[in-house]
Symmetry: none
Subunit: 193 residues, 4 copies
Amino acid sequence: MRARGKRTMAKLLDAGMAVLAERGYHATRVDDIVRGARTSHGTFYLYFADKEDLVRTLAEECVDEINATVGDLGVVATGAEGREQLRVWLQRWSETYRRYGPVLRAWMEDHVPDPGLAEIGAKAFADITATLRARIAEAGPSHVDPELAAPALLAMIERTFYYVLSRGIPVDDEALIDSMATMIHRGFFAGDS
Amino acid sequence: MRARGKRTMAKLLDAGMAVLAERGYHATRVDDIVRGARTSHGTFYLYFADKEDLVRTLAEECVDEINATVGDLGVVATGAEGREQLRVWLQRWSETYRRYGPVLRAWMEDHVPDPGLAEIGAKAFADITATLRARIAEAGPSHVDPELAAPALLAMIERTFYYVLSRGIPVDDEALIDSMATMIHRGFFAGDS
Amino acid sequence: MRARGKRTMAKLLDAGMAVLAERGYHATRVDDIVRGARTSHGTFYLYFADKEDLVRTLAEECVDEINATVGDLGVVATGAEGREQLRVWLQRWSETYRRYGPVLRAWMEDHVPDPGLAEIGAKAFADITATLRARIAEAGPSHVDPELAAPALLAMIERTFYYVLSRGIPVDDEALIDSMATMIHRGFFAGDS
Amino acid sequence: MRARGKRTMAKLLDAGMAVLAERGYHATRVDDIVRGARTSHGTFYLYFADKEDLVRTLAEECVDEINATVGDLGVVATGAEGREQLRVWLQRWSETYRRYGPVLRAWMEDHVPDPGLAEIGAKAFADITATLRARIAEAGPSHVDPELAAPALLAMIERTFYYVLSRGIPVDDEALIDSMATMIHRGFFAGDS
DNA sequence: CATGAATGAGTGTTCATTCAT
DNA sequence: AATGAATGAACACTCATTCAT
C-alpha cells in the first residue's frame, strides 16, 4: 500500500468515525461512509472486507487508547490527593471519550452483530475491569467486593459521560469532572472511614 | 376487543419482549415476534400500527414500572440505615431490571429511530433524574452537585446491572446489591464525613 | 332473505357507492365499505361473493339507469327543436351521472381487473353506442360516419361531465347543458347545413 | 451518470411505459417493470426514488409532447380550410396519443394516489384547456361558452381515441380523423351559420 | 343473521456486497 | 488504485378473504 492508498484508507476511517458518531452504529450505512470520504463503494471494499471490518479497525484503535487511559491510573491515595489523582485521570477519560465514544458504544452493547467485534469488546471489558479491580483492591473500603465494584465504576464513568454528552445536559466540564472525582473517590477508594 | 383479542395482544407483547431481550432492539424482526406468538403477520398489524408501536407500548409499561420503583426511594439517611434503605431499594431495581432491561435499553440509546420512543425515553430520563436529584440534594455531600450526581447515579445503577447480566459476570445477587448499596451510599448520600 | 337482510345489503351497497365516489375504484377497500355500513367483514361476505361482486351489482343497477337514459333520446330534429330535445336529454344525463358516475367510470376503464365487470362494461358500451348510432344515422351530416360519431359523442358527454365535476370547474349547470346541447347538435345532428 | 447508466434508465422507462400500457396504472408492479427491463429491483431504485417517480418522469415527457401538440393548433378558420387544419392537427394528436395514451390516462384520473402526479395532471389540464379556449373564443359560435367548450373538446378528442384504441373498434384511421375533424369543426369552430 | 379475529400471499423498498471497466 | 453500476436477499406492511363463535 502506497501513500495514496494510505490516504484513502485514512479518509474512510475518518468518515466512518464521523458517521458512527452522527448516526449511531445500527444506522451507519456504507453509502454514508463513502460519501463522507468522497470515494466509491468499490474503493471501500478494496480496503475493508466488509462494513464491520472498518468498525473493527476503529475499535482496535479505540481499545489501545482506552487501555492507555485506564493504565494511567496509578495507585489511588485514600486521602485528598487520591481525589486529585482521579480528577486528572477523568480529565483524560473525558478527552478519550469525546473522540472514541461512538466506537466504544458500538461494542459496549450486548447485541453486537459481528462476533469479531464482540470479542474485542469482551476483551477490552475484561482488561479495563482488571485494572480497576486492582486499584480498588488496593484502596477501596473493605466491605466492597472489587470484583463487583470494578464494573460498577466503569459503568458509572462511561455512562455518565454518555448521558451528559448525548442528552445535552448543560454542564460545565470542569464541574462535572470535579463532582465525579468526589463521588468516585468516596464510593470506591476512600478506604474505611 | 374481546377476550381472545386481549389474549392475542398479550401473546404478541410477551413475544416482543422475549425477542427484544434475545436479539436487541435493532435486530428485532416482526417475523420473530409473530413466530414467537404463534400468529401471523396480519394479526400483528391488527393490534399494532407498526413494529415500533409494540415497542412503544412495552416502553410505556416499563416507564410506569420504573417510575414506581424510583419513587420508592424515600429520604436517604446519612447513617447506616441509609445504606440499608438503598439495599432494599436496589433489590426492587434488580427485579424491575430483570424484567424490563431490554425495553429500558431500547430508549436509553441516543440514536433511537422512532421519535415517539425517543420522547418517552427523554421524559423518563428527566423524571428519574429529577427524583434522584431531590434525594441527593437532601443527603449528599456538600461538594457534589446534585445536578450532575443524579445522572451519574442512574448511570451506575443501570449499567452495572446491565454489565452483570449481559456479560454473564458470575456473581451472587445478594453480594452485588450489598456492594452497590455501600458504594452508592458512600459516594452519593453519606453527607460530609 | 328477510327484511333485515335486505336492509343490511342495501346499507352495504350504499356504503360501497359512497366509498367508490370518494376514493375511486382502485382505492376502495372492503374495510372502508363495512365501516361505512356499520357492519363487519363477515357480514359483507354473507351478501357478496367478493369485493367485485358488490361493484358488479352496483354496475348492473347503473347500466339499467344509463340504458333508460340513453333510450330516452328520440329522433333528433335537425332544427332548433332538436337542440331543445338534446337539452332536456342532457339534463337527465346530468342527474344520472351525478349518481352513478363513480360506477360508470369503474367499467369505462380499459384495465378492469374483474372480467365480469369488464363484460358488463363492454355490453353497456355496445348498447349505448348502438342507440346513439341510430340517432346520428337518422339526422347527422352525411359526411360523418355514425359508426365513429357514436363513440365520439359518448366520449364527449361522459368525460365533460366528469371533468367538470371532478376538476371542480366552477360552472353553472344550466349553462353547461345549454352549451353542450348546442355543440352536440351542431356537431352530430344538424344535418348538412 | 455515464452512458451505461443512461441506457439502463432508458430501459426502465421503456419497460415502465410498456407495463403501463398493458396493465394500467394501478396494476403496474415494480416487479413487472424490472423484468421487462431485464434488471433487478435494486437497479430500479438506483434510478428512481419510487414507483411513482418513474411514472412522474414519464408524465413530464408526456406533458411536453402534449403541450407541443396542442400548441400546434393555429387560429382555426371558420370555412372548409378550418376543417382541413383540424384534420392535420388530429393526425398529430393520434400519433402522440398512440405513444403517450397510457401515461396521459394515469393523470387524467381523478383519484391519483401521488400528489406530485396529480399536480402535473392538473397543470397540464389547465394549460391544454387554456389553449383550446383561446382557439374556440376566436372562431366558435357565439352561443357557446369557450370556458365550457374547451374541456368538452378535450374530452371528446381524448376519450374517442381512447375508446377506439382500447375497445378495439375496427376502424380506419383516416376515416376516424376525417369524421372527427368534421364534428369538431361544426360543433366548436364553424362560427354562427 | 352477525361478528371479531385470523390469515398469508403479495408488494414496495433498503442496503451490503460484487463486478466490469 | 479507483469507480460507477448492478444485484438480490431481507424486511415491513397491506388487504381480500375465511373461520369459529
